[in-house]
Each structure stands twice: as structure tokens, then as C-alpha cells.
């Protein structure tokens, strides 16, 4: 359905560069003695927002996992002495209509939402790299067929399909739900990876490998995928953020995580009915949701800046042709 391979949809663009044009590991200004890995790490560490994002994410996840150790209430306990109470020393985030501890519930929901996001990111990148790399590398009918599937899935908003299927999943494990999310989260990444593979395929080091007699599978494994790693990492973070949003949205409508499991989405839905009078029921879950996704996005943005030195300021492209002098390095 699209004319170009512009990365879009759920992608949050970076500080500068267009998302597709991550340079294929050729930072032109690399200085002697610094390996690429160190350089990337240095750039990433210098990006304070990204660092804060990473730290926040780790802390939040740790908190949600470890909270049962120190929290006074468990998520499946009921305090029959406190219904719909605002935050207090014994119930840090207050209680719900039936006496559940909102803090314990929120931590439980946060844990589930983050886990779902991370797992989905993993599934999606696996599918995306398989599809994208094969479509881009082999071209022809493989490419056209796979891209048609991608287009088709893009025409159907994933939200709609998952909502339609999810009633059938009622009562089964949330892992199935994760699989479902993963199956509908890879298309845009695949498109970008395909575009990148097509550029990589024309790169001389791939041609050189081909002329050495290396088989296609080896070339994809050894040259194509590693050279797309930076983009794949960035895309995983973007997918994680988008998935958390999608999951909470679906859960909000009751199409996602099913009781007794909770996610941030189900918590916000349960709390939103009385949003005006008892804001603590949804504000904490909502706040943590925004903070988590924001942190994920900051990490993604920082990674992009670190891996793609050209995303900042003027872009310098090195042309494969005659000698081109670059400004301002010349």
C-alpha cells in the first residue's frame, strides 16, 4: 500500500536522520584506535536522556519484579477494611472498590506490560529480519510475495485483527496473546530491513563474498544481518514502546490481558469509570505507563544517535563513484 520504504507507522523518529538511512557501519570520521563498539558506547553514554531512560527502565522493571518482597500487600489480596481508599501509609497507591491494593496491582500490571513489550519486540525482530533479509536479498518473486503480505497486514490495523481474534483466546495463557502481538508487529521493521538489505546486497563486500563463492545463507548470516544489527536494536526498542501502547489499548477494551492477570491497560480501564472522583485508581498506572514508554523511546532515540553519527547535523554521504570531497572534513 505504500510507494516507498519510508519507515513509519509506530516509529518515533530520531533527532535528525530519516529512519531508513542508517549508514551501514561506515562512520567516516572514525579515528584511529577506536573500535566501533567503543565509539557507539561513548556516544550513547554522552546522551543523558537515553541514559536516564535506560536507568528508569531497569529500575522500573526491577521494582515491579521485587515489589512483592517489600510491599505490604500482594496483588491478589483483599483488604476488607479498606474499600476505595485514597493513598495512605498502608496502601501506598490507595485501594479499589473491592479492597485490592492499587500499588501491588500496579506493580503487577507494570511487570506484565513490560514483559509483554519486551517479548513482543523479540518475536517481531526475529520475523522481521527473516522476512526483510530474504525479501531484500533474493528479490524477484520472493520479494514481491513477502512484501504483498506486508502490505496486506499494514492495510489491516493490527489493533482490529487482534481485537477480532482475542475473544477466541479468552481463558488461554497470556503467552498466546504475546505471540499474537508479535505476529502483527514486524511488518514495518521488515520493510525497512528489506530496503537496507537491498542496499547492502549491492555493497562491494557482499559482492566480494559472492565472487569468493560464499553461499547466500552464509552471506546473509555473516554480512547482511550483522550490518543491520544497529537498526535492529533501534527497531526493537521502538517496537517495545509501540507494543506496550497497543497492549494497554487492547486491554483497555478488554481484548488484551484477561483477568485474573492484570496489565496497566486493564488497571486504567477499571479506574477510568470513576476517573473524576477517585483519580488514584488510574493516575498511578497511567503515569507509570507514560514513564515506561517514554524511557523506552529515549533509549531508542539515544541508540539511534549513537549508532548513526550522521543523524546529527548535516548529513555527509560518501558516494561510491569518483572521489568526492566532503565538507567540512575537507
Amino acid at each position: 500500500m505504500t510507494t516507498t520504504d519510508v519507515g513509519a507507522g509506530t516509529h518515533v523518529p530520531s533527532g535528525g536522520g530519516a529512519p531508513v538511512e542508517v549508514p551501514l557501519g561506515t562512520p567516516t570520521n572514525e579515528t584511529e584506535g577506536i573500535t566501533r563498539g567503543r565509539l557507539v558506547l561513548r556516544r550513547f553514554l554522552r546522551n543523558r536522556l537515553a541514559l536516564v531512560g535506560l536507568l528508569t527502565l531497569v529500575l522500573l522493571y526491577a521494582l515491579s519484579l521485587l515489589s512483592p518482597l517489600f510491599a505490604p500487600w500482594a496483588y491478589n489480596e483483599y483488604d476488607y477494611t479498606a474499600f476505595l481508599q485514597p493513598p495512605s501509609p498502608s496502601h501506598w497507591f490507595g485501594t479499589s472498590q473491592i479492597g485490592e491494593d492499587v500499588f501491588a496491582q500496579t506493580m503487577r500490571g507494570l511487570q506484565k506490560s513490560l514483559t509483554i513489550g519486551l517479548l513482543t519486540g523479540l518475536i517481531s525482530i526475529i520475523i522481521a529480519s527473516l522476512v526483510g533479509a530474504s525479501a531484500g536479498y533474493f528479490g524477484g518473486w520472493v520479494d514481491r510475495g513477502l512484501m504483498w503480505v506486508v502490505d496486506l497486514l499494514l492495510v489491516l490495523p493490527s489493533f482490529l485483527i487482534i481485537a477480532v481474534i482475542s475473544p477466541a483466546l479468552r481463558g488461554s495463557s497470556w503467552i498466546l496473546f504475546v505471540l499474537l502481538l508479535g505476529v502483527f508487529a514486524w511488518m514495518i521493521t521488515a520493510r525497512i530491513l528489506r530496503g537496507m538489505t537491498m542496499t547492502l546486497r549491492e555493497r562491494e563486500f557482499v559482492k566480494a563474498a559472492k565472487f569468493m563463492g560464499a553461499p547466500s545463507s552464509l552471506i546473509i548470516r555473516r554480512h547482511i544481518l550483522p550490518n543491520m544489527a544497529s537498526l535492529m536494536i533501534i527497531d526493537v526498542t521502538i517496537t517495545v514502546g509501540a507494543t506496550i501502547l497497543l497492549e494497554t489499548g487492547l486491554s483497555y477494551f478488554g481484548f488484551g490481558v484477561q483477568p485474573p492477570d492484570v496489565s496497566l491497560g486493564t488497571l486504567i480501564r477499571d479506574g477510568s469509570n470513576a476517573a473524576v472522583t477517585t483519580p488514584w485508581l488510574f493516575l498511578f498506572a497511567g503515569g507509570l505507563l507514560v514513564i515506561s514508554v517514554l524511557a523506552v523511546n529515549f533509549v531508542g532515540d539515544g541508540l539511534r544517535d549513537a549508532l548513526d553519527p550522521n543523524s546529527r547535523g548535516g548529513r555527509r554521504r560518501s558516494k561510491s563513484g569518483r572521489k568526492t570531497k566532503k565538507v567540512p572534513t575537507s
Binding site: 513509519a8 509506530t10 518515533v12 502490505d151 490495523p157 489493533f159 481485537a163 477480532v164 473524576v276
Partner: protein
Amino acid sequence: MARFLLRRLINYVALCLVATFLAFTLAALTFNPVGKLMERNPPPPQSVIDAKRAELHLDEPIPTRFVLWLGGAVVGDFGKTTQNQSVSDELPRRIGVSLRLFLLGTTVGIALGVVLGVAGAIRQYKFSDYFATLFSFVILSTPVFLLGLLLKYGALQLNTAAGAQLLVFTGETSPGFQGSFGAALLDRVQHLILPTLTIALGQIAYYSRYQRSAMLDVLGSDFLRTAQAKGLTRRRALFKHGLRTALVPMATLFAFGFGLLITGGTFTERIFGWYGMGDWLVYGIEQDDTNITATVTLFVAVLVLISGWLSDVFYALLDPRVRLR
């Protein structure tokens, strides 16, 4: 050029049909509309259930049902709901509601998004750029339903503070509202602001990020330097040569943006009590209603199709390199 657009159109229609078929099949496979009937107490006799099944064509294979439904859809009959009402009767009203919301939200979103993105790129690494970036990130990290809830919450505080019903957050118009044209318009606007904002904010954040990227790409380009070397001031070169070129890649994004919008629109309609297509979809799924689901899917696919095709047209209009194909 015309041939190019025609070919794209045919491609879109094919995609559209397959997409609808998939949605129909999925819905037909997972939904069990007679389930509710069977849960009744006392359970209805088997004959009643069979009659219902026959009425909903549940006893026929799915492709046949799809062809049957599509045959009707082509002539404007989208079948009946499980409640035995005509889908077609409800359809125009629902489409009207959604389009009003979507079009306004998109227009505002694109316009402000482009402005914000350009401003951010030109003032890169200045305070206003950081602020715009942060705003976009926060909005993009906030799910639409939460955004809607928060706006609703904020509007309530505002109304309380003002002591008057400035912003209304339920429905399209006040129920049973009677009054002059001006008063009716005001009433509509009062209802419109919050849902439009809910939709537009996300779009602003989304487009501004891309516009900023595209603009930054252009900022370092050789042709901008040429324009300045000709004697244009930086500002004039930026707007005349830079912005014009940076708008080109944006054209393709508008199609994607529309896809995003439909999901967002569903939440917005639900939260603000607008009975549009998004609301209907959720209702359809809740009611295990294949016909409603398929109809909404078709609508969504057609919307994506139109926006995709429109973005092709825009792209061709903006970029002479495509125009000449």
C-alpha cells in the same frame, strides 16, 4: 502519470478485498453469535437456534458467506446485525460521525505538526527545540485512551473553575438541544474540541518528529548551499528550497498516519461517547457480530486505500521526479 495512479488504485482495491476477506474469515471463525442465545435461561429449543443459524447463514461455508455478504455490499446492503437490524441503515450516520472527527483532527494535526517540526529543525538544540521534542515524546508515549481521560479530567477542572460548561465531553451534541443556528454551532464546537484535540495531539507529535528529521536532512544539503550561494538569505533559502523539498517525503507518511488514526479514533469515540465507526467496531466484536466487523474493516481498508492513494497523488504533485513516470 495517470496510468501510474490507476495502477496503484487497482493494487489498492485488490489489497482491500483480501483484507476484508481475512477479517471476515477471522471474525466468522472466532465469533459465536448463537452462543448468547444458548446461554439464555431456559435454553431456547434447538429449532430456534437452528433458525437463527440459518438466518445468519452460519450453516454455510465461510467463503460462501463472504461472497454472499460482498454481493450485498456491492449494491449497498451490508447484511443484518445479530440483533436483526440493517447494517446499511446505521452505516451512513456512523461514517459521518467518524469522518467529521478524523478529517478535522488530521487537518489540525498535519498543519501544526509540520509547523512544529520545521521550527524544531531550524532551532535545533535550542530550548524551544528541546521543548517541542519533549512534548512530542511525551505525547507519543501516552496511549490515546489515557490522553482522552486526562483531557476529560482537565476539562472538568476547567469547567468547575469557570463555573460554566465550557467544554463538553459526552456525545456529539447536547441531547434534545434546540436553538438558533449559531447556538447549535456553538454547542457542536463545545462537543468537538476535546475529541479533536485528542486525535490532533498525537498526529502533531507524530508528524512533527518526521518533519523535523526531513528538514534536518535538507538543512545539510548541497542545494540549500547553492541557493544561499546565489544570494538568498538563509531564511529565504530554508523556506523556499528547504521546506518545499522536505515536504516530499512527508506525503507518504500521511497514509501511515491514517492507519494510526483509526486505532486512536476508536478510543476517542468510545471515551467521548461519539457513535462512530470505531465505537461500532468494538460493539460489533463484543456482540460477536461478523457483519458489523466486516463492514467496519472494509471501511477502514477503504480509508487506508484512499489515504494511500491520496498520498501517491500528493507525492506525485510534490516531486517532479515521480510526476514524469
